[in-house]
Symmetry: C2
Subunit: 246 residues, 2 copies
DNA sequence: CGTCCCCTTGAATGAAGTCAATACGCGTGG
DNA sequence: CCACGCGTATTGACTTCATTCAAGGGGACG
C-alpha cells in the first residue's frame, strides 16, 4: 500500500477520499523486489516506469572514471522516483537498493490517468518533485560548505525528519541501514573520516548508532552542529494557500 | 523574446509553429530588470512568478549561519526558474543576479494556459525540469568526488555546453561573468584555490580566461581533466522516442 | 573454523584553507 | 590630470582537515 506516500502528501494538502483511493491504486501496479546492492536502474537504461518505493531504502549514485562513487540521493518508503522520467531517453545515473526493497512500478498510462483525473494529486506530486529538488540543492550545499561533522549531522537530521513524516521513526530512533562506507559515499567522505566523526558525535552525546539504528539523543544539539534548517523540506502544509484553486 | 528557451527545447523535440508562438508569448509577460548582485528572490518570499531568464546570468544561493555561501546553481538565458514554484509557500533559498539581468515574470495563469493548450510544450518543460534536476545531481557529484581542478574544469565544460545550446558561444569562447570568488562559491572552494587552479589550467593550455571571457583551448583535454560526460544534459533529442504519443 | 564484511585505530601525507601582503584596473571626485 | 578607493586578482608562508596507508578486531554465517 502507498500509505507512506499518502501520509507524506498530507503534509502538503488535504486529499479527498477519492484522491487517496487513486494514489492507493498505484501500489496495485506490478511489484518488484530487490535485494541489498541490487541495481534498480542502470545508467544508460531507458526509464519505463516510475518507481514508487513501498519498503526499504535505495540510492541514486554515479560512478566516476577514477573509481569514486557518489551517492546523490536516498529513497525511503513513500518516495517516488522521478515523476515523468520516461520523458528522458536514457538514465544518466544508476539506482541501487541499499536494503531489501519493494517498489511498485507505475506505468506511464497509469500515472497519466492519475494526474488527469486528480488535479489535487497532481499538485501534490508537483510539490513532491519540488521538495526532492530542494533536497538535492541542500546536499549540494552540504558538500560545498559543511565540514565532515556538519555533513553527517545534517544528513542524520534530514533522514530523521523525512522518516518521521512517513511514520518510520519510533521516539527518537529511526532505522539507518547504511554502512559507514555508504554514509561516506553520500557525504563525500572516506570510511575512515566517517568513523571518526561518528565517534565524536557519540562522545558529544548527540547520537547513538548501532545495528543500523540511529538514536538522536539531543536533536537540538545535532541541529545546531549541522546548521540544520528544515525549511527546505517544506513540511509546513505548503499547499493550504492553494486550497481556493483546487 | 524567448528565442533562447525555444532553441533549447528544440534539443528535446520538434515544436510546432503554434508551440513556438505560445512560448514566445511568455516574454510578453511583465519584464523586470536587475542589476549585478541584486536579489531576484529572497529566502522566505512567497514565489508568485516563474522567472524566465531572457538576458544575463543569475544564481541560486544559500547563506549558512557560519557566514559561508554556496551557489547551488546558475541561470543563463533561456533558463526557467522552477516551473510550478508557486506551489511552495515560501522560498528556501535566494536568487541573485550575477550580471545585469532581464527576466520575464510568468504568472500562474499564463503558465497554466500554456500547458493546457500545448501538450508538447508541457512535455518539453518537463524535460527542462528533469535536466535541471540532473544538473543539480551532477553538482552534488562534483562537490562530493572531484578535486579542485576537476570541479572547475567540469563547471567550465558544463557552462560552455549549456551556452552553446542556446547560441551564446562564439567559436571556442563564451562569456563567463563570474569573479573568482563567485566561481569559488559555486564550486565549494576559496578564492585563493580558484586562483591557483586557474593558473594551472592556463599553464596546461586548456583554457584562457580574461575579462569575463572564457576560451577553451583544448576541449577534449578539459573534458578529460574534468571527467565530463555530457549525458546528464540530455541534449541528444531525448524527445524523439515520444513522438508517436504527441 | 575460516571467511567476509564492517568497524576501529594510529601514523604519515597531502590538498585545500587561512592569513597576510601586494598588485592591478577602473571609475570618481578633487 | 592625478589621487584615491574599491573590488578583484595574485602570491607566499603556514595550518588544518581529511585522506591514505596499514594493521587489527569483531560479529555473522556457511
Amino acid at each position: 500500500m502507498a500509505t507512506r506516500l499518502i501520509r507524506k502528501l498530507g503534509y502538503f494538502t488535504c486529499l479527498s477520499t477519492g484522491d487517496v483511493q487513486a494514489i492507493s491504486r498505484l501500489s496495485g501496479s506490478q511489484l518488484r523486489l530487490y535485494r541489498p546492492r541490487e541495481l534498480i536502474m542502470r545508467e544508460g537504461d531507458r526509464p519505463e516506469f516510475i518507481n514508487l518505493f513501498l519498503d526499504g531504502w535505495a540510492c541514486r549514485f554515479k560512478d566516476l572514471e577514477n573509481g569514486k562513487r557518489q551517492i546523490m540521493s536516498l529513497f525511503v518508503p513513500g518516495d517516488l522516483c522521478d515523476v515523468n522520467v520516461f520523458i528522458l531517453k536514457e538514465m544518466d545515473h544508476s539506482i541501487a537498493a541499499l536494503t531489501s526493497v519493494t517498489v511498485a512500478e507505475v506505468s506511464r498510462s497509469v500515472f497519466e490517468e492519475l494526474i488527469i483525473n486528480h488535479p489535487r494529486v497532481t499538485q501534490a506530486l508537483w510539490w513532491e518533485t519540488l521538495v526532492s529538488a530542494s533536497i538535492q540543492r541542500e546536499w549540494t550545499t552540504s558538500l560545498g560548505q559543511r565540514d565532515a561533522a556538519e555533513r553527517i549531522s545534517h544528513l542524520f537530521c534530514e533522514i530523521f525528519t523525512r522518516l518521521d513524516c512517513v511514520g518510520l521513526t519510533v521516539g527518537n530512533t529511526c532505522p539507518l541501514p547504511m554502512s559507514q562506507a555508504e554514509i561516506g559515499e553520500a557525504s563525500g567522505l572516506t570510511t575512515v573520516s566517517v568513523n571518526r566523526v561518528l565517534q565524536d558525535l557519540r562522545k558529544a552525546n548527540l547520537i547513538a548508532l548501532r545495528q543500523r539504528t540511529l538514536t538522536i539523543l539531543d536533536f537540538d544539539g545535532l541541529k545546531r552542529r549541522a546548521m540544520f534548517n528544515p525549511n527546505y523540506l517544506h513540511l509546513d502544509r505548503d499547499g493550504d494557500h492553494l486550497a481556493a484553486n483546487s
